[in-house]
Each structure stands twice: as structure tokens, then as C-alpha cells.
């Protein structure tokens, strides 16, 4: 039971990645494919944040840090990575949605089976 509690965030990550995979692979609507990619992105961000969590440790803010925080601070790298990844994710999502809008304008549909003139 204890192992499940400790690994609970990782289980969530796995479930989110699976949902995202499903959406990307099987959904026909382009917006839902974008949503699938965004879900995977959230899963990866959560994975990074979970890696950075240390039980009983303090946030690495030196200003007004309590006594017991000395030498017991987490490394802020995963948080920095996640922030970068979120910013990049926003740009990617915006670009993908812009393409979807453009596709809808030209093809009049969001169905990935119908919106394909490029085939062969």
C-alpha cells in the first residue's frame, strides 16, 4: 500500500500518457488530436515536477528561510525545466490550433479522414 502511495503521481502520469496516446492515435477530430498532445505534455510536466519533490525538504528560497532549511533544500532544476516546457507547450499548442483554423478555412471540415488532399 505504501509503495502505491509513493508512486501514485507516477501512476497518474502513466494514465495521462495513455489517454493522450489514445487521443492522438484514434481520434479523427483535429482539435482532439491537439488535446491529446496537450494531455501528454501535462503528463510529462507532472513527471518532471514529481521527480523534483523530496519529502520534508524546503523550497530553495534563501530569503527568510527557517533554520532547519539549511542544507535541506531541493534542487530547483526540475521546476526550471517544467517552466521552460510549459512555455514551449503554449507556443506549440498555439501553432497547432492556428493550423487547425487554417485547415478548417480551406477544407470546411476538421475530420482528419476528409481533410487530406496530400495523399500520394
Amino acid at each position: 500500500m505504501d509503495a502505491l502511495v509513493t508512486n501514485f503521481p507516477f501512476v497518474i502520469v502513466a494514465i495521462l500518457v495513455a489517454i493522450g496516446f489514445y487521443a492522438v492515435a484514434f481520434k479523427r477530430n483535429l482539435i482532439k488530436i491537439v488535446m491529446g498532445i496537450t494531455i501528454i505534455e501535462s503528463a510529462v510536466n507532472m513527471f518532471l515536477i514529481t521527480l523534483g519533490y523530496v519529502q520534508g525538504a524546503y523550497a530553495p528560497i534563501y530569503t527568510m528561510a527557517p533554520e532547519e532549511a539549511q542544507g535541506n533544500m531541493v534542487l530547483p532544476t526540475p521546476q526550471a525545466l517544467t517552466l521552460t516546457s510549459i512555455v514551449i507547450g503554449v507556443a506549440v499548442t498555439a501553432l497547432m490550433l492556428a493550423f487547425v483554423v487554417n485547415i478548417y478555412r480551406h477544407y470546411g471540415t476538421l475530420d482528419s479522414r476528409k481533410a487530406r488532399r496530400l495523399r500520394e
Binding site: V24, I33, I40, F47, T77, I88, H106, Y107, R117, L118
Partner: protein, 527 residues
């Protein structure tokens, strides 16, 4: 050595400058709204400066100890990898060796030529300032990917490269197909980049560091590491356009404007660089006892070669046709590198043919970037003039566009492996080295090359020879800037074909040394 005569301060900061200058250029370009010609001139200047800096960087790396330059951002001195009291590196650093220099050369040369080509090619489009800004941003992404020594940095630059690339693929937003191709490319890139980030998370969680050199020293043969290796391998193979994950390649290459198709080629090749870096350096310690990784690449290469060549035969769109050929050419490199990887654990085989296979693969990488670029430029010039992409509607264009026809012919002869063009030199090297490993591979490679030659002979005849068609009466030769760009690329194709030894000694051999210099990379070029 040129760098000895330059100020020390300037030379030491070259790795940062080569990123900073195109980045600055990219953010200034949008200010030149409604001044398309000024934006074009600005981009030609900036990418030209970047190319000169890449040449200087090459010189600097050669002159440095261990053939490697380390640039630590924010440190007291650029070469300070471990500040006193630290046992692990904490800062972001660039680590540039022979392989990075080879790629930096291509990643600045091709954007420069693409910018020159765009002066005439893109002048009728709207939103040119954005086009040029994205072009420089894409250059930054590629350069960062090939120069960085930090795996998270690699991810960031990969994303910059993909986002700028996808926006450029969909640049012609008045065409629905362009948006479709752009969406396909960005969706695949975003998905791939997330998988890269996931494996970075695995490696960070296990080893608590992001430095490639540090990680290469501590990597173990464990399940988690193998998962990370698998994810990175698949993603970079996907991004470099190897079959069976090649579906985006003909779409993206075909729909992008011609100059961008050329940049997409080198963008894919910088993903191939990342694949090489991951296999030979980051996981070099465990891949040496895992010939299966090499075999996976060999099989991917074989499928790419055959699939790309056969699929190209049924294409009607001239750029999709070349796009499928690009898949097939990627197969050659992936296969040659796979052979090198498969025999890494066997010193005798490595010495007799493994090294040659790697040399051949990297030499083919240079040639591929150049003649693929030439073919895309020439094909786009044809589309630009004839206003159709369908090869059935073209004919007799050699009379109207003699120079473009000659350039296309040079590119076609090179990809078909005819002497004295560059494709012949590198393909011959590939046949020789992989024949020693397994004759079947050499046979498949030769058959593919013959198919490519036949396909290009047929398409060249269909497009350029024969009587001129009535709908192409008003076709004229391309603008001068396009011809200049094509002439430079064609000249390089012939030069590299006539003097292969020059390129091999100058660029390829130091790169192969760097690929196999795991210990030197792990120690940041030091003892």
C-alpha cells in the same frame, strides 16, 4: 590558423556569438515590416556572418586542446567546467567537437544559400518579415542542437527548430495543403519532443544531472536507461525521417517553399546528428555491448532506402517525388551509421571497415544536404516559373530555363551516383564498407541507387526535354538570385565529387574521431 590573429576575447566567445547573432537577427527582422527587400538583405547578411563565424569556430576547435571547445554559460571563464568545490557540472554548456563543427558548417551554409535564393523566390509573397525571422530562428535551433553539451538544451533547441520549421512549412497559408502539411509536421514534432523530454526526465531522475558528458560517464545497463535510449532513438529517427516513420517527410518537404525545403533537409539531418550523439556518446558506454541498436538502425535504413525509392516512382508532384527520394537518401546514412554502431564492440572489424562506414555515412550526410538542397531549389524554380507542380503538365522546359535544367541535371546525376558528382564518391564508400559487413546491404544500396537514377532520368526527360507544351509558352528563366544560389550549390556538388579527399580530410575525419572519442568527450576535452 586564422584564430591566432584575432582578439582572444572574441575567439573565446565564438560559440555564444554564433547563436546570439542569428537570434538577434531573428528578433530585428519583424521590424522590417513592409520592407521585404530590406528584410531579405538583412537575412542574407546575418546568415552570411553566421557562416563566417562557423568557419572561424571550426578553426578554433581544431586549434584547441583535444580538438574540443567547451563554453560554459555564466562561468567566470568560458572553459571552467567544474568550479572549485563542485564534483558535477551545474551550468549549461556548449561542447563543440569535430562532429559539431561539421554540422555547424552545414547548418549555416544552407540557410545562407536559402536566404540568397529567397531574395528572388519569395518576393511576391506577403508577410516576408515573418518568413525571414522564422528562417533565422530555425537556423538558431539547428545550430543550438549541434553545438550544445546539455541534454535539456538539446530539447529546447529541438523545439525552436521544429516550431520555426512547421510555421515555415505552412507559410503559404493561402494553400490548404500547406496548413495540412504544417499541422502534420508540428504534431509529430511536438509528440516526439515530449518523448525526448520524458527520457530527459528519466535520466535526470536517475543521475541528477543534464550534462551529456557527465551522463555518458555514469550511464548503466539498466531497464530505465534502456527505456530512455529507446525513446530517444525512436524520436530522433522519426525526426530525421527514417522509415517506417517517414510519412511527414514528403508532405512537409513538398509543401514548404523551395528554400525552406532545403532548410528542412538540414533540419532533419541535425536530428540525425542528435541520433548519432545519443548512440555514440550519451549511451556510448552501453551501446558498445548492444549490437542490436546498430541492427535496428541498419533495418530502418534498408526500409527507408527501398520504400523511399519505390514510393517516389508513383509521384506526380515534382517536390513530393524529391521528398520520397530524400527518405531514401536518409536510409543510406542511417544504414552506414548502423553498421559502424553494430561493430563498435569489435576492434578488428572497427578498424577494417567500421571506421570507413562511419566516414562514408558522414560524407554522405554532407553530400546529401548539398545535392538534395540543389534538387529542391531547382524543382522549386521550375514550379515558380511553370506555375504547376504536376510533372505531367510540364515538358520542354530546358529551352526556356537552360541554367535551371543544367542544375537539376547535376543534382539528379549526383543522387543517382554518377561520377564525377559528389553522390558517386560517398555512395562508393558506403558500398565498399558495408559490403565487408554484409554483402546484402551493399546490394540493396546499389539497387536503390539504380532506381533513383532511373527515376530521375525519366523525370528529367519528362520535365525538361521534348517539345515545349502550349501552356508553358510564357515561362522564363528564374531570377538572378535564385540562379546564383543554385550555381553555388551545384559548384559544391561537383567540387566534392572531384576532390572527395579534400572534404574527408578537412571535415569528415575529425568528425569520425570525435564520434569515437567517448573518453575525451566525457572529460570535456581535458586529460
Amino acid at each position: 590558423m586564422i584564430v591566432e590573429y584575432l582578439p582572444q576575447q572574441f575567439v573565446q566567445n565564438l560559440p555564444a556569438l554564433i547563436i546570439a547573432i542569428p537570434l538577434l537577427g531573428a528578433f530585428i527582422a519583424p521590424l522590417l515590416k513592409k520592407h521585404g527587400r530590406a528584410a531579405a538583405g538583412w537575412t542574407v547578411a546575418i546568415t552570411g556572418v553566421a557562416f563566417l563565424l562557423a568557419i572561424l569556430l571550426m578553426d578554433y576547435v581544431r586549434a584547441s586542446q583535444g580538438g574540443m571547445v567547451v563554453y560554459v554559460f555564466g562561468a567566470d571563464s568560458p572553459g571552467l567546467t567544474l568550479p572549485s568545490g563542485y564534483t558535477v557540472p551545474v551550468r549549461i554548456m556548449f561542447q563543440i567537437d569535430g562532429l559539431g563543427v561539421l554540422m555547424a558548417f552545414l547548418c549555416t551554409l544552407l540557410p545562407f544559400l536559402a536566404a540568397v535564393y529567397s531574395v528572388g523566390f519569395a518576393r511576391k509573397e506577403t508577410g516576408l518579415e515573418k518568413y525571414y525571422a522564422l528562417m533565422m530562428l530555425m537556423t538558431v535551433g539547428m545550430l543550438g542542437m549541434v553545438l550544445t553539451g546539455d541534454i535539456f538544451n538539446l530539447f529546447v533547441f529541438l523545439e525552436i527548430n521544429s516550431i520555426a520549421g512547421a510555421a515555415l512549412v505552412g507559410f503559404r497559408n493561402y494553400r490548404g495543403e500547406a496548413a495540412e502539411a504544417g499541422f502534420k509536421y508540428i504534431a509529430i514534432s511536438a509528440f516526439g519532443a515530449l518523448m525526448v523530454l520524458f527520457s530527459i526526465g528519466i535520466l535526470y531522475g536517475k543521475y541528477g544531472n543534464l550534462n551529456i558528458a557527465y551522463l555518458s560517464g555514469v550511464i548503466e545497463y539498466s531497464r530505465l536507461d534502456l527505456i530512455a535510449l529507446g525513446l530517444l532513438l525512436t524520436t530522433f529517427a522519426l525526426k530525421c525521417g527514417a522509415a517506417p516513420m517517414h510519412h511527414w517527410v514528403p508532405d512537409a518537404y513538398g509543401e514548404a517553399p523551395g528554400s525552406i525545403s532545403m532548410m528542412m533537409v538540414i533540419s532533419s539531418l541535425s536530428s540525425l546528428y542528435a541520433l548519432i550523439r545519443v548512440c555514440f556518446i550519451l549511451f556510448g558506454g552501453i551501446v558498445i555491448s548492444l549490437p542490436a541498436v546498430g541492427w535496428i538502425l541498419i533495418i530502418m535504413g534498408l526500409i527507408s532506402m527501398l520504400l523511399g525509392a519505390t514510393m517516389s516512382l508513383i509521384q506526380k508532384d515534382i517536390k513530393r517525388f524529391i521528398g520520397y527520394q530524400a527518405v531514401s537518401q536518409t536510409g543510406y546514412m542511417v544504414m552506414a551509421i548502423g553498421v559502424g554502431l553494430a561493430v563498435m564492440g569489435d576492434p578488428v572489424a572497427m578498424q577494417t571497415y567500421g571506421r570507413n562506414a562511419l566516414t562514408a555515412g558522414l560524407f554522405h550526410l554532407i553530400n546529401d544536404a548539398i545535392y538534395m538542397g540543389l534538387l529542391f531549389l531547382a524543382a522549386s524554380a521550375v514550379i515558380y516559373a511553370a506555375r504547376t507542380r504536376n510533372m505531367d503538365e510540364m515538358g520542354g522546359l530546358a529551352r526556356k530555363m537552360p541554367y535551371t535544367a543544367v542544375f537539376f541535371l547535376i543534382g539528379a546525376a549526383s543522387i543517382g551516383g554518377l561520377p564525377p558528382f559528389s553522390g558517386f564518391a560517398s555512395k562508393l564508400l558506403i558500398y565498399e564498407s558495408v559490403f565487408a559487413f554484409n554483402p546484402v546491404l551493399a546490394v540493396v544500396a546499389m539497387v536503390t541507387s539504380i532506381i533513383a537514377l532511373a527515376a530521375f532520368a525519366k523525370q528529367f526527360a519528362a520535365v525538361f526535354l521534348g517539345p515545349p507544351l502550349s501552356n508553358l509558352k510564357r515561362v522564363r528563366e528564374s531570377p538572378r538570385s535564385m540562379l546564383i544560389a543554385m550555381a553555388v550549390v551545384a559548384f559544391l556538388t561537383v567540387l566534392f565529387g572531384l576532390y572527395p579527399q579534400l572534404v574527408i580530410d578537412w571535415l569528415v575525419r575529425p568528425a569520425v574521431e570525435a564520434m569515437l572519442n567517448l573518453a575525451g568527450y566525457g572529460a570535456w576535452g581535458g586529460a
